[in-house]
């Protein structure tokens, strides 16, 4: 074996190892992009499932709170009506004053139970924001994996390999004109 032979063997081994590494890297990048895409769907699914439940909880609580306040209002109305019906002439001046005292007191002290639904709505809003942010994060991550993949495929020398093995560039996320134009706030 001459020195040239050894050099050729070494070069061949290096080339093989290089091919091995480039090929494996390209395979990994393509799969990572697919994974990132699937993870976007995971979060979309979460949004679909979670927000429906949260809205239902809020709606149920609102109903509960409304019915309680209505009970208070109805009961108070009945009280006031009864007081109105009271025959003022039949009662002496003493009671007249008492009646007016009572209505004053009542007007002063009339307080309804505090509404609490805002906390539930705040929590709902917080979760909407968090989920949408998570979806956006997953989409950006997907775009990042596509960029790495496409860069490798377009760059020399891995581009030779990509062509030989039919590895293609991947499209990035696109919201479409209808979605990106709509700001969602009306």
């Amino acid at each position: 074996m001459t020195a040239v032979d050894i050099l050729l063997i070494v070069l061949g081994v290096v080339a093989l190892v290089w091919c091995y590494m480039v090929f494996n890297n390209l395979v990994m990048l393509r799969h990572n992009a697919a994974q990132a895409w699937a993870n976007v769907d995971v979060l979309l699914r979460q949004r679909h499932d979670e927000l429906q439940k949260l809205v239902a909880v809020c709606a149920r609580y609102m109903q509960h709170e409304r019915s309680l306040i209505e009970r208070v209002a109805t009961a108070r109305g009945a009280l006031a009506a009864a007081r109105e019906r009271k025959d003022m002439r039949a009662l002496g001046p003493l009671d007249r004053s008492l009646a007016s005292d009572v209505s004053q007191l009542n007007a002063l002290a009339e307080g309804y139970p505090a509404l609490k639904a805002d906390a539930n709505f705040l929590q709902l809003q917080r979760r909407i924001a968090e989920i949408e942010t998570a979806i956006a994060d997953r989409r950006e991550f997907f775009n990042a994996t596509v960029t790495i993949n496409n860069t490798q495929i377009r760059q020399f020398p891995s581009l030779l390999f990509a062509r030989a093995f039919g590895m293609r560039e991947l499209p990035r996320f696109s919201a479409g004109p209808a979605t990106s134009a709509r700001d969602g706030v009306r």
Partner: protein, 190 residues
């Protein structure tokens, strides 16, 4: 002799390489199955836990409603007693009643604080926690599938996989209906 040794060494190396690659493929395939099962664990938890939490909320709502009704009834009966008592008796107790009335109304107008929203809030938080947990498990599953598929498609895994019949796993896919965006406005109106 020298060549023979080299061939034997090469065969041994290739054999160990093959075995270790195959073992790796087995391991990643098992991980896929584990990750899939872990999604089910969380789905099961969601099913069990949310039912209980909703029942608890319902129970508390009922309690709050009954308490409110009792407060309202009690108040109405106080008023009724005052109205039915005859003027003479009222006159006697007038000063005392006045003082008491003032206190009574001032005190009684403090309605019990609504607290059911706390249980609802906890329910909401648990819904979010569980759904996030499910998503995490699903992403872990996707990661396991990815590790499996990369191992199968990379060299030398692709050779071993085609000999040993290792198959690529499927990433999670949902139909369009189950990933559709929710219309909050419509949901509140239903």
């Amino acid at each position: 002799m020298f060549v023979g040794l080299g061939v034997v060494a090469a065969i041994v190396i290739v054999f160990f390489w093959y075995v270790s690659t195959q073992n790796r493929l087995v391991a990643v395939r098992e991980n896929v199955a584990q990750a899939w099962s872990n999604i089910d664990v969380l789905l099961k938890q969601r099913h069990d836990e949310l039912q209980k939490l909703v029942d608890t909320c319902r129970q508390y709502m009922k309690y709050e409603q009954e308490t409110f009704d009792k407060v309202l009834e009690a108040r109405a009966s106080i008023f009724g007693a005052r109205r039915s008592s005859d003027p003479a008796a009222l006159g006697k107790a007038e000063s005392e009643l006045r003082g008491r009335l003032g206190k009574l109304f001032a005190l009684a107008e403090n309605y019990p604080d609504l607290k059911a929203n706390q249980t609802f809030l906890l329910l909401q938080q648990r819904i979010s926690g569980l759904e996030t947990g499910i998503s995490d498990r699903r992403e872990l599953y996707n990661a396991a599938v990815n590790a499996n598929n990369v191992a199968i498609d990379q060299f030398p895994g692709n050779v071993v996989a085609s000999i040993g019949g290792f198959k690529s796993a499927k990433l999670l896919e949902f139909d369009a209906a189950s990933t559709a965006d929710v219309d909050i406005k419509a949901l509140f109106n239903t």
